[in-house]
Every structure is written in structure tokens, then in C-alpha cells.
């Protein structure tokens, strides 16, 4: 199946083209079948290729297939080629697996939408782009996927294009991502001029062979890594470019699950993990990654505490969890970051699809203040959502616990302010547990806060929506067992050895005592427990408390509900000045007044001087003779001077 590697991205592309061009004339059943079927085939090929790869000895990896030259000019060359190794193998399984479930779910969720075919064409195009991104064997082809997923995200956020807020959000997502891509492009240029190639294998082997102590080299590598990370802050919604992701919730909920939670937004993490060889040699860049990751996870989690839109809570949660993944990468524990990427893909897709099921059942309501008691009407949605909540909150035994624990342990051992970052991570873990249980409690338990005037008939979702939920819930439980901590097994996490990224990570961990491991683990369990208990206290035991808390800290509360006013600040400091300068200064003044003014001025002066001179042309012969005489005298005078 390895020889069919190219089919993995191409099948969804074919689906996208068929549905995009002919979709209007096809029935919904056929459209859904083509879209889901192409992804299912892609998943099947990915799975067999993955299993085949596992049979191969380490020396035969990675598997590389070059198909044709894409761009060649001067000394530059970029090919269209794919690379399969443990990292990209894991990624294609996540992408096609979760993608397949969400395609199936969408056939029901989007069933009554007039843009049905368009939706699946975009969704399939997204699969193509994402698979290109993770399978590419060079940075430039990765960029094709990178911008491709950005395009699909733009199209799907603005899917309901009649809504101004939706198209605004789509445009914002694309433009903010472009700011990040600016960094990516410069990184690619610098990579080429440093290593004379953009091919992963050539770049990494050249980087590995470089004298690591040479200051100039460290500087270049740091610049490369920081520029790449600028790209990552765009795609993976980190400070300062995270602002597009919460708005992206304007898109249909399956999109939020697939693109804005499980797969696309993790592209930045994938890129950093893929470039581990480079980041390992740029300690300064790693510190930046860790600090930004920690700060983002903290800030986003604090905003999530007070949101009342079910999708917004999950959106800020996603930003926060992505920060967690970068925290891991920044500590040099790339495998932990990818591990969390995987577990997060399962439980966050689950939570979003659960939220979609709730919204579907509630006839479009997203405000958790208008929900409550839904566990009776939607038992399966509730059960699976509960599992998702337990998983993300870091309750022992579920997937999120293991990956979070691995990140926190790695951070603790990191030489770069490890203890401080660990403390932040721990605090965020507590907040995560709190806001997730708050969401669960307010949505599913207690008395209904909606009236039958608002919602006609609350109902459980149909099977095509519930089956993906159950499958994802299953993985949200078991996916963690590939990363059982050393304290329990006595050797490294299986996932870390499998991925084998960067220098053998966190050497400190090697020597860490089992007692310390247990201590760190207990701390994270305790944090999750406290968060959950506080949610229980505030929203079940003493439901009058939240109002009191928010009124006693009104200023803080309003800062949080207004998301630190970041959008407003960006608007006032960046966007408005640029637009005003462009319109009033550059266009009206420089272009119209100065440049055209000068030109029209020349025209005017030519015309007016001609107007003056025209009076000399009187047609009066005596006057001409007089002028000739005058001229002759002047000439003679000049010769005689």
C-alpha cells in the first residue's frame, strides 16, 4: 500500500472536484457517499500503509516518494513528493480517521442545508490539503497544504455567506493566517539559502552535521525557528495571532470539530515537531515557544471560564490546549506535544460534535444559559460528552490524563524556567477542569432554563451523528494507553520511543526518581479534582455564588467576558490606522494631490505659458518685423560683447 501513498491525499481531492463541479445535479445521498467514501478509502490506505511501515526495519525509514518537479529555477528545486515515517503516519491516521467520522456525522448534521454539495466539496478539499501538509517531503509542498487548509477554513467559516458575521470571521481567519504565513515564507527562504534545499532530509542532515557551537549558525537556526513559529502562531492560534479562532465558530459545527479543533489548528505543532532537529539546535527559539505556549494556555483558559456560548467555551479551550502542546515542544518534549495533539483530536472532536448534537437538538441555540437538564432528552450525547469532559479535564484513566501528565513532567524537567512553566501548566489544568465541568453541568444537568416557546422539541440526534460520538468517546478513553508514564511501567512512554523526535528528550526525566514522578502525577490529579469540585460547588451546591463572585470582582469579570479587549486593541492600533493612512494620506494626498498634482501642474503651466505666448502671434507684420529687429540686435550685441 506504500506505493499507493499518493492516493491518500488525491482521493479526497477527486471527491472535492466531483462534488464541486457536478454536486448541484447529484442527490444528497450520492454526494455524501462520494465525500465520505473517498475519505474512507483514504483512511483504509493510510491504515495499511501504516501497518506496513511498522514491519519495516528502522533503517528503511522514512519512505520517500518523489513524483515530479514542481518548481525549478536557478539552483532552487522543489518537488512534489511524499514522506511517510512514524510522525506523518500517525498524523494521517488521525486526520483520515477523525475526518471520516466527521464526514459521516455531517451527512446528517448538514442534511437540510441548501449548500450541501458545496459543504462536502470544501470538506474534501480540506482533507486533501491537510494530508498534503503532513505527508509533504519538503517545506514548500508543506506550505501548499498549509495555505490550502487556511483556504478551506476560510471557505467553511464563511460557509453561510449571507451572514455578515460569518464572512467577516472567514476573512479575519485568512488574513490573520496570512500574517503568520509571512513568517513561514521567510523561514522557507532562509532555510533554502542556509541549506541550499527545502527538502526535509537534506535540511535535517545538513543541520545535524553543522557545528552546533558556532554562534552564527545558532543565530541563523534561531531565526529560522522563530520565523516558522510565527507561522505556527497563526495556524495554531497562539498569542498574538489567536484572535481568529474564537470567531471561526461562525462556521458549521462539524467544521469547528474537524478543522478548528482536531486537525488544522494542530498543524503548527506538527511543523515544530517535524522540525525538531532545527529547534533542538536553537534553544532561544525553544524558550520562546514554551513561553508563548504557556501564556496562551493561561490567557485562553481564563477567558473560557466566563463564556456562555457552548462553542466559544470549546474554542478558547482549544486555544488553551494548543498552548499546552507548544509548552511541551518548547520543553523539547515533541513527542509529548504530538501525543497531546492526538488525544486532544479525539476528545475535542468529541466535545465539538457533542456540542453540535446539542445545538441540533435545541434548534440552533448555543447559549448555555438557555440550556440545562438535557441529559434526559439527549442521553447518548450526554454520556459521550461526559467522557469527553473527563478526558480533557485530566481525570486518571482517560486519554487526556496521560498526555497532560507527560507534558507537565517534561516541563518540570526542562532547564528553561521549567518549574515556573510547570506551575502555570498545573494551574491551567485546574482551570480546564473547572470550565469543562461548568459547561457540562450547565448544559446537561439541573432544570431546563429554556421554555417551550424558545425550543419546540428537544430531541436526541440520529444515528449517523451518534455513532461518531461513540467511536470518539471510545478513543478518548483508550488513546492514552500508548503513553503510560514511566512511574507505572518502569520504562519510557511507548509513544515517545515510537515517534523518536529530536534529541532523546528531557534527560533529566531519565534520572528522575519514581517518587518525583508520583508527586507530579498527584499534583495534576489534585488540580483536576479541585477544578471539578469548584465547578460542582458553584453550579450545583451553591448556584447563587457565581453571580456574587462576578459582581464582587466586576472589573476582572468584564475584562474576561470581553476577552481582554484584544480585538478592540488590534482594531484601534493596527487596522484603523492602516486604513485611514491608505485612504487619506496615500490615495487622496500622495497619489491625487502630489503626484497627479505635479503632473497636472506641468500641464497647466504649459498651457498657461502657451496662452501668454499666443499673444505674440498677432498676425501683424510690422510687429513681427519689430521682433526680428529686436532679436537681431540682441544677437549682434551678444557677438560684440
Amino acid at each position: 500500500m506504500v506505493s499507493f501513498l499518493w492516493l491518500i491525499p488525491l482521493l479526497p481531492l477527486a471527491g472535492a472536484v466531483i462534488n464541486g463541479v457536478f454536486g448541484k445535479r447529484l442527490s444528497r445521498g450520492v454526494i455524501g457517499f462520494i465525500a465520505s467514501g473517498s475519505v474512507a478509502l483514504s483512511f483504509a490506505i493510510s491504515l495499511t500503509a501504516f501497518l506496513q511501515m511498522l514491519q519495516l526495519p528502522e533503517s528503511e525509514l522514512p519512505i520517500v516518494r518523489n513524483y515530479f518537479t514542481w518548481i525549478q529555477a536557478g539552483s532552487f528545486q522543489a518537488s512534489v513528493g511524499l514522506l511517510l515515517d512514524h510522525l506523518s503516519g500517525l498524523m494521517i491516521l488521525i486526520v483520515t480517521g477523525v475526518g471520516l467520522l466527521i464526514h459521516v456525522y455531517s451527512t446528517a448534521y448538514m442534511h437540510d442545508d441548501p449548500g450541501f454539495y458545496r459543504f462536502f466539496a470544501y470538506l474534501n478539499l480540506f482533507m486533501f490539503s491537510m494530508l498534503t501538509l503532513v505527508l509533504a517531503n519538503n517545506y514548500l509542498l508543506m506550505f501548499v497544504g498549509w495555505e490550502g487548509v487556511g483556504l478551506c477554513s476560510y471557505l467553511l467559516i464563511g460557509f453561510w455567506f449571507k451572514k455578515q458575521s460569518a464572512t467577516d470571521a472567514g476573512k479575519k481567519a485568512f488574513i490573520v493566517n496570512r500574517v503568520g504565513d509571512f513568517g513561514f515564507i521567510l523561514a522557507a527562504l532562509l532555510i533554502f539559502w542556509t541549506f541550499k534545499s527545502v527538502d526535509y532530509q537534506q535540511v535535517f542532515s545538513a543541520a545535524a552535521a553543522m557545528p552546533a557551537d558556532q554562534l552564527g549558525m545558532i543565530g541563523t537556526l534561531t531565526a529560522i525557528c522563530l520565523l516558522m513559529f510565527v507561522g505556527a502562531t497563526g495556524k495554531s492560534a497562539q498569542i498574538p495571532l489567536y484572535v481568529w479562532l474564537p470567531d471561526a465558530m461562525e462556521g458549521p459545527t462539524p467544521v469547528s470539530a474537524l478543522i478548528h479543533a482536531a486537525t488544522m489548528v494542530t498543524a503548527g505543532v506538527y511543523m515544530v515537531a517535524r522540525s525538531a532537529v532545527l529547534f533542538d539546535r536553537a534553544p532561544g527559539a525553544l524558550l520562546v515557544v514554551a513561553v508563548i505556549g504557556a501564556a496562551t494556555s493561561l490567557i485562553a483558559a481564563s477567558i473560557a471560564l466566563v463564556q456562555t456560548d457552548i462553542k466559544k467555551v470549546l474554542a478558547y479551550s482549544t486555544v488553551s490546549q494548543l498552548g499546552y502542546m507548544f509548552l511541551a515542544c518548547g520543553a523539547g518534549a515533541y513527542a509529548a506535544g504530538v501525543f497531546h495533539l492526538m488525544t486532544h483530536a479525539f476528545f475535542k472532536a468529541l466535545l465539538f460534535l457533542g456540542a453540535g448534537s446539542v445545538i441540533h437538538g435545541m434548534g440552533g441555540i448555543q447559549d448555555i444559559d438557555k440550556m440545562g437538564g438535557l441529559r434526559k432528552e439527549m442521553p447518548w450525547t450526554f454520556r459521550t460528552f461526559l467522557i469527553g469532559t473527563l478526558a480533557i479535564a485530566g481525570i486518571p484513566g482517560l486519554a487526556g490524563f496521560f498526555s497532560k501528565d507527560m507534558i507537565l513532567a517534561a516541563t518540570w524537567h526542562s532547564p528553561n524556567f521549567g518549574k515556573v512553566l510547570w506551575a502555570i501548566g498545573l494551574f491551567v489544568a485546574g482551570m480546564t477542569s473547572f470550565y469543562m465541568f461548568r459547561l457540562l453541568i450547565l448544559t446537561f444537568t439541573g432544570r431546563p432554563r429554556y421554555t417551550h416557546h424558545d425550543v419546540h422539541h428537544v430531541h436526541e440526534s440520529p444515528a449517523p451523528m451518534l455513532i461518531p460520538l461513540i467511536v470518539l468517546a471510545f478513543f478518548s478513553v483508550i488513546a492514552g494507553y500508548v503513553g503510560i508514564p514511566p512511574a507505572l511501567t518502569g520504562h519510557h512512554e511507548a509513544i515517545a520511543e515510537f515517534l523518536n523526535l529530536g534529541t532523546p528528550a528531557a534527560e533529566g526525566a531519565e534520572h528522575a526518581s519514581v517518587a518525583l514522578e508520583w508527586m507530579l502525577m498527584s499534583a495534576s490529579i489534585l488540580a483536576a479534582g479541585i477544578g471539578a469540585f469548584l465547578a460542582y460547588l458553584l453550579y450545583v451546591l451553591r448556584p447563587e455564588l457565581p453571580a456574587r463572585v462576578s459582581s464582587s470582582a466586576a472589573a476582572l469579570y468584564s475584562i474576561l467576558t470581553n476577552k481582554y479587549y484584544v480585538d478592540e486593541i488590534y482594531n484601534a492600533v493596527v487596522i484603523a490606522p492602516i486604513v485611514v493612512t491608505a485612504r487619506q494620506f496615500l490615495w487622496r494626498f500622495v497619489d491625487a494631490a502630489i503626484i497627479d498634482g505635479a503632473i497636472n501642474g506641468i500641464g497647466q503651466s504649459v498651457r498657461s505659458s502657451a496662452n501668454t505666448l499666443r499673444h505674440l502671434q498677432t498676425g501683424n507684420v510690422r510687429a513681427y518685423a519689430g521682433w526680428i529687429l529686436f532679436g537681431s540686435i540682441l544677437i549682434v550685441a551678444w557677438f560684440l560683447r
Binding site: Q72, G74, T167, R178
Partner: protein, 514 residues
């Protein structure tokens, strides 16, 4: 006679012969007139395919040469030929012309004259890209002005006279300076070698072999004279203000050809004449010219962003895109120059398509104001989809054509100066801003303006004009080799000449003796 010697003449003059034949048509028979014009343009296109099919990528120097004395006493020859840089520019002209004619189907007023001018324009365009005699080049350069002047001045919008005059005056000023410079070259070459000729290869060869040398001061003046002519045509900031006016007033087909082909004459001139003839001055002034190019990229994009008129927006976006091309040329790297030539083709295809698209809703609504539209996707879904693809091509989405050129330009520039590349790369962000903002305001949303309620989607003829460009957008984005390979040898050749005659490494230019 061997067909290879005949082919360039055929491609160049078939349209002119067609134009003369068109004069015989009866004035009222619009259908026959436009069908004939279309047929002539298509035949020309088919002829031009011979050029690329039989082009030998490995060969350096000009191909399909024809060299016949024209005015022997003055050393003027009918000397034509193309190399890897010009071959696709000729094809760009010949492929855009039939599409432009298809887009002129609604022209009824003085249709005969209109199509005569269109075909004459094509002869001028192809001639400019293939003339190898400086005098011949100048003739084609100026000849092309006349039909464009009438196309804007007669079939244009409300302020067409102002725009046409502005266009002609700007170009003429540059043209006259260039003529003076050509004469100066002719005489100094003649005086030094005894052979008075306008032959470009002869003069270039003499300069390369140091058979005659230009004093630094003379080289500077000649460089500036040529440069000004080309910079106005490009147009490079701050010589660009004729462009928005000309575009806004020109009929759709005029805009397509103006942006698609005519602007490329400026950048082509820089590559063909400025760089090889005056390598020292090119190097010396490269930082300054690059600065103007970067200003153009950012300035054009920012001003495009705030335009209320779709055509003006696209016109300013051209200023920005052409900045990239100039930047690539003056990077003096193979990557940058190949990227620049690629970008010339891309811009022709994408911006040509954009003007066609704007023209299509202009024909339906007789306005180009963005504020008049909104929600077009509800009435014209196919149009909306095509517009999206062209928009993405214009903003350089990887996988489509625009990216390849833009990336190569940035790559070449970065090798010379990372700071220049970094500033230019902000254009990548800004292009997304102005294009997507326009797209949102025109295409998305609800139909709010009652005039847009009855809009009909694009018809078969309109689809036919767009399909070839869409195919090129995808093809050039995915598989660039057929386009980049032929120019490789010519660009290497050019760079060798520029570097050798200058006697050192490119990056040590600043240390040259003045």
C-alpha cells in the same frame, strides 16, 4: 523558404493583414466583423503555438530569426527573433487577444474600427516582443500606442479623453527619451566601430566585447533614458498615476490587454535592454530601483485596499504586482529573474481574468462601484466560483500560478538582501486584505440592492473566455517546468553577460569605479 524563418512574421502581421481585410467589410455587419476578427486572432494564436512547440530550450541566443535589410542606408533591418524570455510573452499576447475579442461581443458602436484597432494592437504587441532592431522596436513600441489611444478615447467611459491623453502623454515622454537614447547608442556604436546599425545583437556584442565602451556618465544618461520609458510603462512608483485612470476608462478588452500585455513591455524592456546594455548602471542603481519597487508593492496594495471602484482596485493591485516583477529583475539572480518572467505571465493571466470578470458585471449593471454590489453569489454562483479562483490566484495561493512567480522573486531577492525580501513579503498579507475584502463586499452577503435581483449567471460565451485562463491558472501553479525550462538558458545567458561585462561578482557592484 523555411517555415521557421517565416513564422514570426506570420504571427506578427497576420493581425495587421486581418485588420486591413476588415476594412472591406460592410459597416453594419457587426456579426461578420467580430467573427472575422475572432478568427484572425485564433489563427494568429495557432501560428504562435508553433513557436513554443518548436522552441529549443537548450539553445542559447535567439530563435526563429529573420533578418532582412529594411532601410539599408540607415542601418535599419527587419530583424526579428525570440528567446526563452520573449517566447511566452508572445504567446501571452496571442492567447489574450481572442479572449479580449470574445469579451468585446457587446461592442456595436463603430464595431469595424474597434476590431481594426484591436488587431493592429496585436501586431504592435507581438512586434515589440520580437523586434531585434532597436529602430524596429521603437516603431512597434509607438505603433501600439495609437490603437490603444483610440480604444480608450472612443470606446471608453465618461472621462475617456482625459485618460487617453494622460496615457499617451506619459508613454510618449518615455518613448521620446528612449528614441534619443537609441540614436545615441547608434551613433556612438557607429563612430567607434565604423558600422552604423540599429541591430541589437550587434550593439550588444560590441559592448560585451568592449569594441566600444560607454563612459560612466554616458552610460548613466542612456540608462536613465531607457529606464524612464520602461518605468512609466511598468508602471513603477511614482510614475503610475496614468494607470488607474486608463484602466477605469478603457473598455474591458482594453483593460485586459493593457494590464495583461502592455505593462509587460516595460518589464520586458528592462530585461532585454537595460540590464544587458548598461550592466554597470543597472547594478549601481539596483538598490534604488528595488526600493521604488518595494514602495510600489506596499503603496499599490494599500491604495488598492481603499478603492471604491473595482477596476481601480485591480489597477492599483497591478502596481503592487509589477513591483514584484521589477524587484525580481533587479535581484540579478536566476531565481529572481525567472520568477519575474513567470510573474509577468501570471499577472497577464490573473489580472486579465480579473478585468474580464469585472467587465462581465459591468455589462450587466453599468457600474463598477463595490458598494453597488453584494450578494452576487446568490444570483451568479458560477461567476462567484470563478471569481474566487481568480482571486486566489491573484493573492498567490500556493498550488495556483501566482505563488510560483512570487516565491521565486522573493527567493532571488532574499539571496541578495533579506531585508528587501521581508518588506516585499508584506505584500503577501496586503494582497489578501484588499482582494478578500472586495470579494466579500461584492460576492457575499444578501442581495441588498434591488438592481442586482435580476442578474443572470455567466453565459456560454463568457465561460469560454474564462476557461482557458482558469486552466492556465491551475496548470502554471502545479506544473511549472514547461514554462520555466525554456527560459533557463536565456536567463543564465543574460546573467552571464551582465556579470562578465561588469567584470566581477554581482554582489560587489557597489565598489565599482564610477
Amino acid at each position: 523558404m523555411d517555415f521557421d524563418k517565416l513564422i514570426l512574421t506570420l504571427v506578427t502581421f497576420t493581425p495587421a493583414v486581418g485588420a486591413i481585410a476588415l476594412l472591406l467589410f460592410s459597416r453594419g455587419n457587426v456579426k461578420a466583423i467580430r467573427a472575422f476578427a475572432l478568427a484572425v486572432a485564433l489563427i494568429t494564436f495557432i501560428f504562435s503555438l508553433h513557436l513554443i512547440v518548436h522552441f529549443d530550450s537548450a539553445k542559447s541566443g535567439f530563435q526563429f530569426l529573420v533578418n532582412v535589410p529594411w532601410i539599408p542606408s540607415a542601418g535599419i533591418d527587419y530583424h526579428m527573433g525570440i528567446d526563452g524570455i520573449s517566447v511566452y510573452l508572445v504567446l501571452l499576447a496571442t492567447i489574450l487577444m481572442p479572449l479580449a475579442i470574445l469579451a468585446s461581443w457587446s461592442i456595436r458602436d463603430r464595431a469595424k474600427e474597434y476590431f481594426v484597432f484591436m488587431l493592429l494592437l496585436e501586431t504592435g504587441m507581438v512586434g515589440v516582443f520580437s523586434a531585434l532592431d532597436l529602430f524596429l522596436f521603437y516603431i512597434f513600441w509607438e505603433v501600439m500606442l495609437i490603437p490603444m489611444y483610440f480604444l480608450i478615447g472612443v470606446w471608453g467611459g465618461e472621462r475617456r479623453i482625459y485618460a487617453a491623453m494622460k496615457f499617451v502623454l506619459f508613454t510618449l515622454i518615455g518613448g521620446v527619451l528612449m528614441l534619443v537614447a537609441i540614436l545615441a547608442l547608434y551613433f556612438s556604436h557607429g563612430n567607434a566601430t565604423g558600422e552604423f546599425t540599429f541591430s541589437y545583437p550587434a550593439i550588444l556584442g560590441a559592448l560585451t566585447e568592449k569594441a566600444f565602451v560607454l563612459a560612466p556618465r554616458a552610460e548613466l544618461l542612456l540608462f536613465l533614458a531607457f529606464f524612464l520609458a520602461f518605468a512609466i510603462k511598468v508602471p513603477l512608483f511614482p510614475f503610475h498615476t496614468w494607470l488607474p485612470d486608463a484602466h477605469v476608462e478603457a473598455p474591458t478588452a482594453g483593460s485586459v490587454l493593457l494590464a495583461g500585455v502592455l505593462l509587460k513591455m516595460g518589464t520586458y524592456g528592462l530585461l532585454r535592454f537595460s540590464l544587458p546594455l548598461f550592466p554597470n548602471m543597472s547594478h549601481l542603481l539596483a538598490p534604488l530601483i528595488s526600493l521604488l519597487a518595494i514602495i510600489g508593492i506596499i503603496y499599490g496594495a494599500l491604495v488598492a485596499m481603499v478603492q471604491p471602484d473595482m477596476k481601480k482596485l485591480v489597477a492599483y493591485s497591478s502596481v503592487s504586482h509589477l513591483g514584484f516583477i521589477v524587484l525580481g529583475i533587479f535581484s540579478f539572480t536566476a531565481e529572481g529573474i525567472e520568477g519575474a518572467v513567470y510573474q509577468m505571465l501570471n499577472h497577464g493571466v490573473s489580472t486579465g481574468a480579473l478585468f474580464l470578470l469585472v467587465g462581465m458585471i459591468y455589462e450587466r449593471r453599468h457600474t463598477r462601484m463595490i458598494a453597488e454590489f453584494g450578494g452576487i453569489a446568490n444570483r451568479m454562483p458560477v461567476y462567484a466560483a470563478v471569481f474566487l479562483i481568480v482571486t486566489l490566484s491573484s493573492i498567490g495561493l500556493p498550488g495556483l500560478n501566482g505563488f510560483v512567480g512570487e516565491f521565486l522573486v522573493l527567493l532571488g531577492t532574499f539571496g541578495v538582501s533579506p531585508a528587501r525580501a521581508a518588506f516585499a513579503a508584506t505584500g503577501v498579507i496586503l494582497s489578501a486584505v484588499y482582494m478578500l475584502w472586495m470579494y466579500q463586499r461584492v460576492i457575499w452577503g444578501e442581495v441588498t440592492n434591488p438592481h442586482n435581483e435580476s442578474l443572470t449567471d455567466i453565459n456560454t460565451r463568457e465561460r469560454l473566455t474564462l476557461v482557458p485562463l482558469l486552466l492556465l491558472i491551475v496548470w502554471m501553479g502545479v506544473y511549472s517546468s514547461p514554462f520555466l525550462r525554456p527560459m533557463d538558458t536565456s536567463v543564465t545567458n543574460l546573467l552571464n553577460r551582465v556579470q562578465n561585462s561588469q567584470g566581477g561578482d554581482v554582489r560587489t557592484v557597489e565598489k565599482l569605479p564610477r
